[in-house]
Symmetry: C3
Subunit: 308 residues, 3 copies
């Protein structure tokens, strides 16, 4: 029932068995979340450091909740209040954390590869909560869990991800994970925001929204990073919305059974109209719930907890 | 033994029975606070988010202590470290929090009405920790608890609140609560800082400190918000102190049995001289202790905990 | 088995018996830290406020870990998010904290004497986590624990501390503690950064590194506070490194059995070369581990916990 992996650095290279084990375990924790008392004692006495070098409310709270519901002790460490100011290197930080006998580290960092680097400095379990443009594996796991809960399976489903694919760690983690799980993936966005070489990701690439949408089972919109507009790669927001933003009109492109997803927070009126984001075909809030369950599963399976 | 209310948004409209139940329950928790081990297991497994859009040390710590002493799991969320930066709407924030299966939300916000708005977006229990110039109900509850502990009753007592009444959510919550509990209230301050229409609050209004003080049982001073001086409504600090600041000299206006209260933090030497704030007739520190007990009572009664 | 002291304000004046009791108790907690489950229930239901007026990641996390591993409830309070902005006095802050029935306060402040002052305002147990240029007693205790673990004893050992002695609370606390424990201490640094009157500290003073190093059992380097360079007291970094920075070349000055210590975070390439900091004779990371154990011991002994 354990995992082949010892850390969760990304979904690239993770086996179908490991992903299935995580999703199945998350289902059990999903049941726990429906109870009146949502806490289980499985990680009592274990310490988890949440090491966030990028600000993030949702992901940090989701992990902190997952940790507390497993009875672990979270310690929050954010870059703004840290020895980062004193010029301490990342390696010194992690070796100090290890010396304090910490069991697990959840890390978010603006540089790709930091979680992998940390595994070389410490024996603590490392969980990637987002590293640069590289991976955000728990997001992709919660996305796959949400799709599997809705359709009852993953294999053979068609998923389209729309937005700034080039800079999206969410898209990358989903691409790796979904390929492994037998999902047919299409990545769609403005030509300047699409990867040049997509074969490695095993996905179809298009800048045509209709082509991506018309036969898909899932349409996942990415958040438009407004701050990236100055880069020159980016079309005007108005143009982006008119070509790739989903409103009720554009929803007609989709098959009737297709659902809408978004990792949040949504730019309402840009990538998604409010009546679509809040509409009956959106499972955005289920994704949030499933995020806590998936993070509990990952912490539990990697943290060597007792039976749930 | 439950409450008629499901949320604590303000004291306007709350029944005498509910206020009495909260104060009686707070008395039981006050006993717990005298013990060596101050923790009870009543809210074990419940998650409370402290959602503070205005900085506040005392109120936030008081709530966090109350939550921990009931064995609930607090998650702290402050605006400066939040997705607020990402332009997320309040409604999205609360719906996400709800999707994470959180039981209760303690919210402080600079805009009046936010706690009420949140009840329309979520099934979680909402507790108002201060909203704009509207209400700060747990402060008024702790004030009434402190008065009741001192005098043994509330009905028939005379209370005078002195300061910037117009902008004080503390004064407003006390006005609603004290009217319900049969307290005779006088609101006193510079004419520009008094409400125009006071009948709704059921209180007597005066700009004459001596009139407010000479027959009162309780004199409650409000904190002078220095940052509001630029508004033009405000007298000079020196003038304010000479007319409304309480020192030993002005204490002679009060009946001998009358007590001094203040919601803190005190501007020493402005609204209260140090030897009055720290003197034998001040119950300011009792208010702080009672604040934890009242918040435990509110969390307990609304959170559906087991018997205390 | 208790301590003669009721607070830990500094090591000046603390008896050999008390220091020995703390170090012996820390050894027992060091064993706990090797276990899979590192938590003990000794301070369950006790509340500890971490009152940090200076930013500090390591010391704050080390205390927070120690508190959680004893099952106490930590409340974090940092100056940037506090009522400090509202001009509240330190005395009011602590009296409010006391009124909330808090058991212990861990305080770090830029002004010497603040922890002592707090003991006059409250009945809570006060633990000094660093006050100005005065003392940092838990750092000196963890240093002595680390030395005792390595050599099996303290009495008769020779320790040299090198750096900005004049402004170092770490050096001062070690000077008091080591004198009591029978260690022969040498303090070494640039002449402008040495105390004028050293007799009180019972240590030998020198600006000659070789003299300090050649017969020592322990060489402890202090962190160079870059921000203090503008003071005029300070040599250029390049000059400091060439005279007092320890690299493999300068390690030859030391006896072969001598070890390297540093309170962290290390300025790599300034006071210590990386291959010395990470080399086989460095016990820097042991110091970090021992820091958690020592803080558990202090909290436990002063907090009146049950048997460990």
């Amino acid at each position: 029932m354990g995992l082949a992996i010892q850390h969760l650095l990304g979904l690239e290279g993770i086996s179908e068995e490991d992903i299935t084990t995580i999703l199945d375990t998350a289902e059990r924790f999903h049941e726990v979340l429906q109870r009146d008392i949502k806490q289980v004692p499985t990680l009592r006495g274990k310490t988890v450091v949440n090491l966030f070098y990028e600000s993030s409310t949702r992901t940090r709270i989701s992990f902190e909740l997952a940790e507390k519901r497993l009875s672990a002790s979270p310690i929050n460490f954010s870059a703004t209040t840290s020895s980062v100011n004193k010029g301490e290197t990342l390696r010194d930080t992690i070796r100090n954390i290890e010396a304090m006998k910490i069991d697990m580290v959840v890390v978010r960092h603006h540089a790709a590869g930091v979680p992998h680097f940390l595994t070389q400095c410490t024996d603590a379990v490392i969980i990637n909560a987002g590293d640069g443009f590289h991976e955000h594996p728990t997001q992709a796991l919660l996305d796959m869990m949400s799709i599997r809960r809705h359709f009852g399976r993953l294999r053979g489903l068609r998923v389209a991800i729309v937005g700034d694919i080039l800079h999206s760690r969410v898209a990358r983690s989903n691409a790796w994970g979904m390929r492994t799980m037998g999902v047919k993936l299409t990545l769609c966005g403005p030509p300047t925001l699409l990867p040049q070489h997509s074969e490695a990701l095993g996905a179809k690439i298009t800048d045509n929204l209709e082509e991506a949408a018309r036969e898909t089972d899932v349409l996942m919109l990415l958040r438009l990073q407004m701050e990236r507009q100055q880069s020159g790669l980016f079309p005007a927001v108005r143009e982006y919305r008119s070509r790739y933003g989903i409103d009720l009109e554009k929803m007609r492109m989709l098959p009737e059974h297709a659902i809408i997803m978004h990792p949040g927070p949504v730019n309402r009126g840009i990538e998604l109209a409010s009546n679509v984001a809040d509409g009956p075909r959106s499972i955005i809030l289920d994704q949030v719930t499933n995020g806590v369950a998936v993070r509990m599963a990952v912490l539990y399976l990697l943290g060597g907890g007792d039976n749930a």
